[in-house]
């Protein structure tokens, strides 16, 4: 397992480097200028030039990239162009809340998705299956910001069960932390659980038609055992793939939910930084997001091996 993970990590390095080069160049080639954003309503070209120089943006793009990469390799992601704070500090403060939200969102998605997917897959064409399909379509079609606002109005504003905005850390009390996490995690689950449910349903339907399951059933094994040992285990492989992609997306893709719930994560930091053309912060966040994607992909590969020994042999071979 160790050499496999190490090899996958080493394989990821060129991907990270390439992604960063594209992001670095893309940001600077995109319209807009951080110096202009800071220079007040009526700046002269001299003022803008002076600010650009102070930010180090007067150098060529390759020179800027080499300087940045050299510093980044030693753990220094630079300073925010807008507020002058160390990017590693800004990003570091946001990783915890984002990971917390991503894990909670994935957990709820799995709980809802696996339960409903299993129920629908075991009784295809039934009322349960049709209901699951309908709600899955609704969940997929609903924009996350809209479902978030709806949850705020119902459970935050009217029922007052949950806070409407902000995050409480676990160090300030588990109960309050879970309360503040509940609605944003549920919002993410509304969008992601249907994906898992659909994958699992279709996978179960396929698995039930396979020879080994039919053999097990013909041998008279109890249905509960057949489902647990023969159907579900094989059906989980596509679900793990979906969950891995969802987790990767959640690391950098929760921006709208973070904004709606005032959740101080990487997504909202990224959106603000893009708006202000704060190149250093965007780069810093993207390092984490790309790494998050790659790590979740490695995690999926490991889980494949756990679920199916044949895959493990290929990976280790």
């Amino acid at each position: 397992m160790g050499p496999f993970v190490l090899r996958r990590l080493l394989d990821s390095l060129p991907v990270i480097l390439l992604a960063l080069m594209i992001i670095f160049a893309g940001l600077r080639l995109a319209p807009g200028d951080p110096a202009e954003m800071l220079a007040g309503p009526d700046p002269s070209s001299a003022t803008i030039a002076a600010i650009r120089e102070a930010m180090g943006l007067d150098r060529s793009i390759p020179a800027q990239f080499i300087l940045w990469l050299r510093a980044a390799l030693s753990g220094d992601l630079g300073l925010s162009l807008v507020n002058g704070l160390p990017v590693s500090e800004l990003v570091g403060d946001r990783i915890g809340p984002t990971v917390e939200l991503a894990i909670a969102g994935l957990f709820l998605s799995l709980v809802i998705g696996l339960t409903t997917g299993l129920a629908a897959g075991l009784r295809p064409g039934s009322l349960t299956d049709r209901l699951v399909s309908t709600f899955a379509s609704l969940g997929l079609a609903t924009p996350k910001f809209w479902s978030g606002i709806l949850l705020i109005i119902v459970f935050g504003l009217n029922m007052r069960w949950f806070p409407v905005a902000g995050r409480t850390g676990f160090s300030d009390g588990v109960f309050e932390a879970v309360r503040s996490l509940a609605l944003p995690a549920l919002t993410l689950a509304i969008g992601n659980a249907p994906i898992i449910a659909r994958f699992l349903r279709n996978s179960i339907i396929e698995a039930r038609k396979s020879d080994h399951v039919l053999t097990a059933m013909s041998k008279g094994l109890p249905m509960r055992l057949v489902v647990r040992d023969y159907v579900l285990r094989n059906s989980l492989i596509p679900v793990v793939t979906a969950a891995g992609i969802i987790l990767g997306n959640l690391v950098g893709g929760t921006a709208l939910v973070e904004i709606v719930f005032s959740w101080p994560g990487l997504g909202s930091l990224l959106i603000n930084a893009i708006g202000n053309r704060d190149y250093s912060v965007v780069q810093g966040v993207m390092v984490v997001v790309v790494a998050g994607f790659l790590l979740s992909s490695i995690l999926v590969d490991i889980l494949y091996g756990v679920l199916d020994p044949r895959i493990r042999q290929v990976n280790h071979g």
Partner: protein
């Protein structure tokens, strides 16, 4: 010491010892009474003073440098920093860090006498700090929002530790409005303003968690501390407007800054919440025309567009009747406003058609730049109305929408046919608005004539208010006639707040003044 002296001393100690219980008990009683009185007074004071105010705003501050007027910075400016003077509701200068001032007979130098006051670090404020601040605002790389206006102060000189003298390029009638937004900084700690304040204001920065909140606490050594009502101000970052309104409804916050139509609709009529609109700092929405591009280099064509805009409809639909349709740069509450001019740009499609025929220009196509709401609120909706209005007279309008960074690049480069945008300086002295990229000769619209240059220059040559009112009336009339920039709507921003709050003010630039707020949470 002789034996007798020792005896006397012993006797004295014995006498004191005998008296001790009485003295101690009397002192004890006195101290208890004093302590109780103090506590009672304290309770009375804290009963009068609100302990805390929790505010929500949509964006983080970009550090605590008061030279930068980013939206997220507005809330701390008057709290963490002091200015030399402040302006009262009538726009008259009032003493702040400067306890008095005097203009020279030629009006070109102004000498300020500073009061005894301290920075948050504990150091006394001196004239050198004022000089440092003025120089810093004029340094290009600092990027101070006021930089173009600060050039009117050619020199700042410390006469003695408590006297500072400014030399001006001209009479600078808007000097006090300018100084009302120049926040004095502690030269020892300005390099740390990305994390802490460098001010002397009624509050000091206690905590900042980017993306979450920042906390300001009362500065007990402030020169006006006896009038500071709140002990603590917490500013929570709530980016979504609907969530901010919900937080106000559920008691999570007391006041919402940067609120818009969504929050207002959500909060209208909700028990315990009211919406204030201080009439000091309007957002002025305008259409700017690039006069260097044909056919907009033709004044008649520009007038066609001016007469084809249904300003009232825009005020009603886009700004939900919270704005007032206008022709001139200043709102009706401003002293420079000329009521008679408001009829000169009334919506008149027939007149627009007639003017287009007179211009000899065939019906044409043109584009208008708009931007996302965060940068230019309502610009896209306004453009849609404009498109309909212009289509009626045969002009085809293409609406181009950009994110704020791109929109700003195009604005600064004058790379547009027409653009819809907003300025927020209209509550100040017109001297801060007219010689600028908006209305100034050779500004972003590329408009300039010798007459207009002379007219704008004449506004800087007098400080007589009645004379200035006439001059700005003529400038507004010229702006309407030349139609290179068309003010459309003046709107006073709304501030939803909990019912008990009172004393909330914003200055002429829209920066909140919170030290006098009462009714916060205990």
């Amino acid at each position: 010491m002789t034996n007798q002296e020792k005896k006397d001393a012993k006797t004295s100690r014995q006498q004191k010892g005998q008296m001790m219980p009485n003295i101690w008990s009397r002192r004890l009683i006195r101290d208890i009474v004093l302590a109780l009185t103090f506590l009672a007074c304290g309770a009375g004071v804290s009963g009068l003073r609100a302990a805390e105010l929790i505010i929500s705003q949509g964006v983080d501050p970009i550090g605590f440098d008061p030279a930068r007027f980013a939206t997220g910075n507005h809330v701390f400016l008057h709290q963490l920093y002091d200015t030399l003077i402040t302006l009262d509701a009538q726009g008259n200068p009032q003493p702040a860090l400067a306890e008095s001032w005097q203009r020279s007979s030629d009006g070109l130098t102004v000498t300020f006498r500073l009061r005894e006051a301290r920075f948050h670090t504990g150091r006394s404020i001196t004239a050198d700090d004022v000089v440092f601040t003025i120089e810093r605002y004029k340094t290009e790389r600092v990027g101070a929002n006021l930089l173009p206006r600060m050039r009117t102060i050619t020199a700042a000189r410390a006469i003695d530790p408590r006297t500072v003298r400014f030399t001006l390029t001209d009479l600078t009638p808007g000097l006090f409005d300018l100084l009302g937004a120049v926040f004095i900084q502690n030269r020892d700690v300005v390099d740390g303003m990305n994390r802490m304040d460098a001010g002397s204001g009624p509050y000091l920065l206690r905590e900042w968690r980017p993306g979450v909140q920042f906390v300001m606490e009362r500065f007990a050594q402030h020169w006006r501390n006896d009038r500071t009502m709140l002990d603590r101000i917490t500013v929570r970052i709530i980016p979504d407007e609907a969530a901010a309104a919900a937080a106000l409804q559920t008691g999570g916050v007391d006041l919402v800054l940067q609120s818009g139509a969504i929050a207002e609709q959500q909060l209208r009529g909700v028990a315990g919440i009211r919406i204030e609109r201080p009439q000091s700092s309007p957002r002025s929405y305008y259409l700017m025309l690039n006069t260097s591009r044909p056919p907009l280099n033709n004044q008649l064509v520009r007038q066609v567009i001016s007469r084809a805009i249904d300003r009232k409809r825009i005020a009603e639909i886009v700004y939900r009747n919270h704005g007032t349709a206008t022709c001139q740069p200043w709102s009706a509450s401003h002293w420079a406003h000329t009521p008679a001019l408001e009829n000169t740009c009334a919506f008149n499609p027939d007149e627009a058609r007639r003017l287009l025929r007179s211009s000899g220009v065939a019906p044409f196509s043109i584009s208008v730049n708009t931007a996302v709401d965060a940068y230019s609120p309502g610009s896209v909706e306004t453009a849609q109305i404009l498109k309909e209005d212009l289509a009626k007279i045969g002009i085809t309008l293409e609406i181009r929408t950009f994110d704020q960074a791109r929109a700003r690049t195009l604005l600064l480069a004058s790379d547009f046919d027409m653009l819809l945008h907003v300025y927020t300086e209209g509550g100040n002295d017109p001297q801060l608005v007219v010689p600028s990229g908006f209305y100034g000769p050779g500004g972003r619209a590329k408009y300039s004539t010798p007459e207009y240059v002379a007219l704008v220059a004449s506004a800087g040559q007098t400080i007589d208010i009645s004379e200035r009112r006439k001059i700005y009336g003529r400038i507004a009339s010229s702006v309407i006639d030349a139609a290179f920039i068309m003010p459309i709507v003046h709107e006073f921003p709304s501030y939803p707040m909990r019912q008990p709050l009172a004393g909330f003010r914003v200055d002429n630039s829209g920066f909140p003044i919170l030290w006098g707020v009462t009714g916060g949470r205990k």
